[in-house]
């Protein structure tokens, strides 16, 4: 297909969902099936455009050297202009495959999952805007328009997390998500304007693919002494990633984000929000590298440490959670930490690869957890409708809608408050009741654990570990830290995932609701099956040619299909200097396999062989204080509240009373009193001395004083007239002098 046509399609990519949002908001907000048609139709159209572009460019490794670009002048700035445009390069091409695919499946799933919600149309509208913004972000050729879509996504996630806005926990989570990511965004804005004032452009190709600019930035000292501009700009921009991709210390918003309906979680955790953060960090990778070239490794070091810390922290906290979605939320944080750590040790390809595979299996896991919750809730309603005759009327009315709204807002809130359909302790034995969900969820779980050779998660996680191992054995101390931290985190990942699968599906049901759970309709299960397919296979696109383990020559097989290390070759065109691929080393692979077996076995021993029965305590609770701390998410929220939020809130609450009214206005009122006292003197003078004649100036002051004291301003006309006359007198005075 011609380049022009592909570029036209690229321009069009973000629009169908955005237009769908507008159509739904303005015209279709009362029509459910019309909304479904518009929303899904828009998303399918975007997917079509994206796939045409992807399959046209994916065949060539030369795309990196000659990306598709198109731009126009957006704002005039003096004699220059600020241009915005679209581009297709290997990174955006890869996202043009993943994002619309995952989003379309989430859309289809949502039509069933949210189908009975009273605000269904609003939900689909926001979801469309969300997806459209992500597509716009992917095809943006410059940081400013990327940031525009980035913030639009922030708004969408705010709206969707707070979708059940009557519920205090929901709107609090929404505000928390918006504000926490906004802290990162402020750093990003600083990085952005810093880069702009240094280079005069924010275009990715004119900055990150331009040797001269990179050289200049690496040679310029930053405003902070001891750093290069390249490294400081890079870190400030990375601040945006910390917020958006929920890295320590700004990770606190993501677990709460599950207050939104489950498809939103899938959207946030896989296809859009958090991926955008890593996506942007990858775009600015050349900046960190160029700084490191001149010996300023600050950026790499900070990024590596943040990634490793987050990976471990997330995995630890996930072990102590009971909420099925919360476990997944912390696993996302942890997995994003893996990617960030990979960037920190220079593993561009590994990070991008894990980002893609993770998107598929995490979307699968979230949609799967939604399916579980839906099934269990169904069981609960079923029970409810039959168990309590006095509430019989409600059961079927309620069935299905507002299911995430559990505990609040329902007519029968008191009955629901006691039951949490997201708590894994209330589940068990679902494998036979929800077989499709069980199989697909397990596939997603295995991918997250990194089950060797058969899942996508294995290949990408192994690539990160291999990269870290290579760095460790070649004298990079940061890589040593990253390697061992990620190994521990990976063991924990395998363990908590096994725990989750066994607690949810194994053994016998621990509640009546779980016993009555039923499988969901095809609109929900088919997306799961499709995602499961990709969670298994998408890793095969990047098997190193020389990969060999236990006498099986995986690399050679992949070569036979012509896809060996395809992703690596395709994506490395993004880098000014292609990444040196280490020779294949079996040691990290042995680590990967060992990690999976060790963590998985731990899970099997504690949860698989003897599944939890109703009323039994979870074995991890035996950890005592450690468990309590993990269960309370290591008290980050409490700490932030005490350290930052409360003092700032107190300052805000007291400011206008103390400073504006209490200080500035007091001063004003005092000045005014003095003035009116002077006026009193004039008044006296007026009365006693200039009896009968009216002194104009005194009159002004007298009136000011009089009116001000009584706060009666009925005669301001006169005052104004006096002031104007006084002004004229002064004018004449000056003219006489002249």
């Amino acid at each position: 297909m011609s380049k022009e046509l592909l570029l036209t399609l690229t321009w069009l990519v973000p629009f169908p969902p955005i237009i769908a949002f507008m159509l739904i908001a303005l015209f279709a907000n009362k029509h459910r099936s019309l909304t479904t048609a518009i929303a899904v139709g828009g998303m399918v159209l975007t997917t079509l455009f994206s796939f045409i572009i992807f399959f046209n460019v994916a065949g060539s490794y030369k795309l990196g050297a000659a990306p598709l670009r198109s731009q126009f002048a957006w704002i005039p700035t003096g004699s220059t202009t600020f241009n915005v445009g679209v581009a297709v390069d290997p990174l955006s091409a890869a996202f043009l495959f993943m994002v619309p695919l995952a989003a379309t499946l989430i859309f289809i799933y949502s039509t069933s999952y949210m189908g009975n919600d009273p605000r269904y149309t609003r939900f689909m509208g926001y979801l469309s805007l969300f997806a459209g913004s992500m597509m716009g972000l992917v095809v943006s050729d410059n940081l400013l328009s990327l940031f525009i879509f980035w913030e639009l996504m922030g708004f969408c996630s705010y709206s969707l997390i707070g979708f059940f806005y009557n519920k205090p926990s929901a709107y609090r989570a929404a505000v928390k998500a918006f504000m926490t990511t906004r802290i990162g965004d402020m750093l990003l804005v600083m990085g952005m304007v810093y880069l702009y004032s240094q280079t005069g452009t924010l275009n990715f190709f004119d900055t990150m693919r331009n040797e001269e600019v990179l050289h200049h930035l690496a040679a310029t000292p930053a405003v902070i002494p001891g750093m290069t501009a390249a490294s400081l700009i890079g870190l400030l921009i990375f601040g945006g990633t910390v917020g958006k991709s929920a890295q320590f210390p700004l990770h606190v918003w993501l677990p709460d984000a599950m207050e939104g309906p489950t498809p939103v979680s899938a959207m946030i955790h896989a296809a859009t929000m958090v991926s955008a953060g890593i996506f942007m960090a990858l775009r600015f990778f050349p900046l960190y590298e160029s700084a490191a070239h001149v010996g300023d490794t600050t950026a790499f070091t900070v990024i590596g440490w943040i990634g490793a810390t987050t990976a471990l922290l997330g995995a630890l906290i996930a072990v102590g959670q009971y909420d099925i979605k919360r476990v997944l939320a912390y696993s996302t944080i942890s997995q994003l930490g893996f990617m960030v750590a990979a960037i920190g040790i220079g593993g561009y390809i590994a990070a991008a690869f894990h980002l893609l595979t993770h998107a598929f299996f995490k979307a699968l896991l979230f949609l799967g957890s939604g399916s579980v919750i839906h099934g269990v809730e169904h069981g609960h309603h079923h029970l409810h409708a039959h168990g309590h005759d006095n509430h019989g009327g409600h059961g079927h009315d309620d069935h299905g809608h507002g299911h995430d709204d559990h505990g609040h807002g329902h007519d029968d809130a008191h009955a629901q408050a006691a039951f949490d359909p997201q708590d894994m302790r209330n589940m068990g034995g679902l494998w036979s009741r929800m077989p499709v969900t069980f199989v697909t969820f397990t596939i997603g779980g295995l991918a997250l654990m990194g089950a060797p050779f058969i899942t996508a998660g294995f290949w990408s996680k192994d690539e990160i570990l291999a990269h870290a191992y290579h760095g460790m054995t070649h004298g990079n101390p940061l890589a040593t830290v990253v390697f061992w931290t990620l190994c521990i985190a990976a063991v924990l990942t395998a363990f908590y995932t096994a725990r989750q699968i066994f607690m949810t599906f194994a053994g016998e049901p621990r509640t009546e609701a779980a016993a009555h759970a039923t499988e969901n309709p095809a609109a929900m299960t088919v997306p799961l099956i499709v995602l499961a397919f990709f969670a298994l296979t998408v890793g095969y696109m990047n098997i190193p040619s020389d990969f060999e383990f236990a006498y099986i020559r995986f690399g050679a097989i992949a070569k036979g299909f012509g896809i060996d290390h395809w992703f690596g070759h395709f994506i490395e065109g993004m880098l000014p200097v292609p990444e040196v691929l280490p020779k294949f080393d079996p040691t990290p692979v042995a680590f990967s396999v060992g990690i999976f077996l060790f963590g998985g076995l731990l899970g099997l021993i504690f949860y698989g062989l003897k599944p939890l029965k109703a009323g039994e305590t979870d074995p991890v609770e035996n950890l005592g204080g450690i468990f309590t701390a993990l269960n309370n998410r290591l008290y980050f929220d409490e700490l932030y509240r005490k350290l930052f939020i409360n003092p700032l809130q107190r300052f805000a609450d007291s400011y206008s009373g103390n400073v504006d009214k209490g200080f500035i206005d007091v001063f004003l009122h005092a000045a005014y009193t003095v003035l009116s006292d002077i006026a009193e003197v004039f008044k006296w003078f007026d009365k006693k001395v200039v009896t009968g004649t009216s002194d104009l100036v005194g009159n002004v002051f007298r009136r000011v004083g009089h009116e001000g004291r009584e706060l009666q301003t009925g005669q301001v006309q006169n005052y104004l007239l006096s002031a104007l006359i006084a002004a004229v007198v002064m004018m004449v005075f000056f003219l006489v002098f002249q």
Binding site: A25, A73, W74, I75, P76, T77, G78, S79, T80, I148, F149, W150, E151, L152, F155, S159, G162, Y165, N166, P168, Y171, V175, F178, M179, R182, M186, V189, M190, V193, Y196, S197, Q198, G200, T201, H216, T220, L648, A652, D653, Y655, S656, G657, V659, K661, I664, L668, V704, G708, L711, Q712, T713, V716, L720, A723, L724, M730, M731, F734, L735, F737
Partner: protein, 534 residues
């Protein structure tokens, strides 16, 4: 093009005022709809101006000049350029919308709408006049209708608020009048185009004042400060802002819309039109002072807004926060004229901007930041005019129904007012500077220009931008979210009616269009600021 179009535009609202006064006070809806329809005429004229402005040529256009006060060399001199024309259009655009939001006024309808027309004439006069005396007369005239709008149709504490507003601004105006006299004495003219020419620039060459002080520099500094304080108070810049929350809160909805939308802009306009061009070196010398106070306005304005529980006061303080960014952009522009910064420009700024411009290899002086700063400040005035007017309208709508603005008493209203909820979220996001809506573009430009010149202060100002998010979300949460209060469950509040939609929708559309295609006005603004500060 119609001859004397600027005069016609400026005084056309006075005809509206006369017509309103001739209508019997009982014919309320005739007055209301008649006023709105009549105010579409100036709007049409202003759009004709916009369309007819020659962007190839730039500079002052539609110029009119007539003898007016020859004894003191003051002429009736009008004209518009890229700085004043957008504000003229904004004024004509906001007036009918503010009138629509005033349909609920029941007390002396005739006088109310008459004052509105007077206000429009006064503000238009300020923007189009190119003579300092004429400028001052219109500037003062704009206070009168606003004073009455607050003191007669205002809230419970209206007397205090209107009196404070009046005294404060009059006091500052007297200083400005003094400065105008000094400038006139120095250059023997009040004509702005002459004052900005090489021959007429005050305090250069023979254009000196040496009354009372031998050193003419004293008068220059005095005149600069008197001007600067008068306009800073209008913007308003911290700590001269305390009149604003009172005046805004007490004013009727339409009055607040005009006050925030237009009258505050007189301050920013004054800086760009008069202060920096007339006193470039002095302004440059004190630019950092302005920048510091701008930063304080941004940060403290935001915190103050966060601390409010009165919806309207929250929105009022948000103006301090937003207009602080205008002041920062002005400071950046002013800084370009300091001798010190010029020295800087050849060393530090030079290094900073090596790649600015078309050819990345050509060494470029940082002439871009001052232009971006002024352009950003101008655009911010326009976008704040739209978003603050919209927010005051939204406050007015809820107050009209609930008879309270106490955020702790509202809540959950989205359940019963879906249209209002969507509109409020939209307008609040415009105020927050959500990308895609107008406020973002101007803030981006201002941060960019601020960073290049006042890096540390800009970084601090971003704390204010962070808190902007907090107070906006606070207002949304307290009004729309949460469970519906019992009070509102029993007295259901009606959703936005069509008059209100008609008043708010144009603002929303304008915010969206300017957010997506800012070049529509930026082309004009850029032309104006490039000519003045390039």
């Amino acid at each position: 093009m119609i001859p004397n179009i600027l005069s016609i535009l400026t005084f056309l609202p006075l005809l509206g005022m006369v017509l309103v006064l001739l209508t019997p006070d009982r014919a309320k809806s005739t007055i209301r709809w008649g006023s709105v329809l009549f105010s579409l005429l100036p709007l049409a004229l202003s759009i004709m101006l916009w369309a007819g402005y020659n962007t190839k040529q730039g500079g002052f256009q539609f110029v009119e000049k007539a003898v007016w006060f020859p004894q003191i060399n003051s002429t009736y001199h009008l004209g518009v350029d890229g700085i004043s024309l957008p504000l003229v259009v904004l004024t004509c655009f906001l007036t009918p919308l503010a009138m629509l939001m005033s349909f609920t006024v029941e007390k002396s309808v005739r006088a109310f709408f008459a004052l509105f027309f007077l206000l429009e004439t006064a503000t238009l006069g300020v923007f189009v006049s190119l003579d300092l005396i004429v400028f001052f007369l219109f500037y003062e005239l704009s206070l009168v209708p606003m004073y009455f709008l607050i003191s007669v149709w205002g809230g419970a504490n209206r007397k205090y608020a209107s009196f404070k507003f009046m005294l404060y601004t009059i006091a500052a105006s007297l200083g400005m009048l003094l400065s105008i006299q000094v400038v006139g004495l120095a250059s023997k003219s009040f004509d702005l185009t002459y004052l900005l020419s090489a021959a007429g620039r005050p305090f250069t060459g023979n254009n000196q004042v040496n009354i009372l002080f031998a050193d003419g520099g004293v008068w220059k500094t005095v005149a600069f400060w008197a001007f600067a304080i008068a306009f800073a108070l209008k913007v308003p810049i911290w700590p001269l802002h305390t009149w604003l929350p009172d005046a805004h809160t007490e004013a009727p909805t339409g009055g607040s819309m005009m006050l925030a939308g237009i009258l505050l802009k007189l301050g920013g306009y004054g800086f760009l039109r008069l202060v920096i061009p007339l006193f470039p070196e002095t302004a440059g010398q004190y630019a950092f002072v302005l920048a510091i106070f701008a930063m304080l306005s941004i940060v403290l304005g935001a915190f103050a807004a966060w601390g409010q529980n009165d919806f309207k006061k929250l929105v009022a303080y948000s103006s301090v926060n937003h207009m602080g960014w205008v002041a920062l952009g002005i400071a950046v522009t002013a800084s370009a004229f300091t001798p010190e910064v010029d020295a800087h420009a050849t060393s530090k700024l030079h290094a900073l901007a090596v790649f600015a411009g078309a050819d990345p290899h050509a060494p470029v002086k940082d002439t871009l930041s001052p232009i971006i700063g002024a352009g950003g400040a101008m655009l911010q005035m326009i976008t704040h005019g739209l978003s603050s007017a919209a927010m005051f309208a939204m406050v007015g709508i809820v107050y009209e129904r609930a008879h309270t603005r106490d955020l702790t008493k509202l809540g959950g209203l989205w359940n019963i007012m879906p249209r209002y909820g969507a509109a409020l979220i939209f307008c609040a996001m415009g105020s927050l500077g959500l990308p895609g809506l107008a406020g973002f573009v101007s803030e981006f430009l201002l941060i960019r220009s601020g960073w290049a010149v006042f890096t540390g202060l800009t970084a601090l100002s971003l704390i204010g931008l962070l808190v902007t998010g907090i107070y906006i979300l606070k207002s949304l949460q307290k009004v729309l979210h949460g469970p519906l209060g019992h009070e509102w469950a029993h007295h259901p509040l009606s959703d936005m009616n069509w008059t209100e939609v008609l008043a708010v929708a144009p603002l929303m559309i304008a915010m969206l269009i300017l957010g997506i295609a800012p070049a529509i006005v930026m082309n004009l603004i850029n032309l104006g600021v490039s000519k003045l500060f390039g």
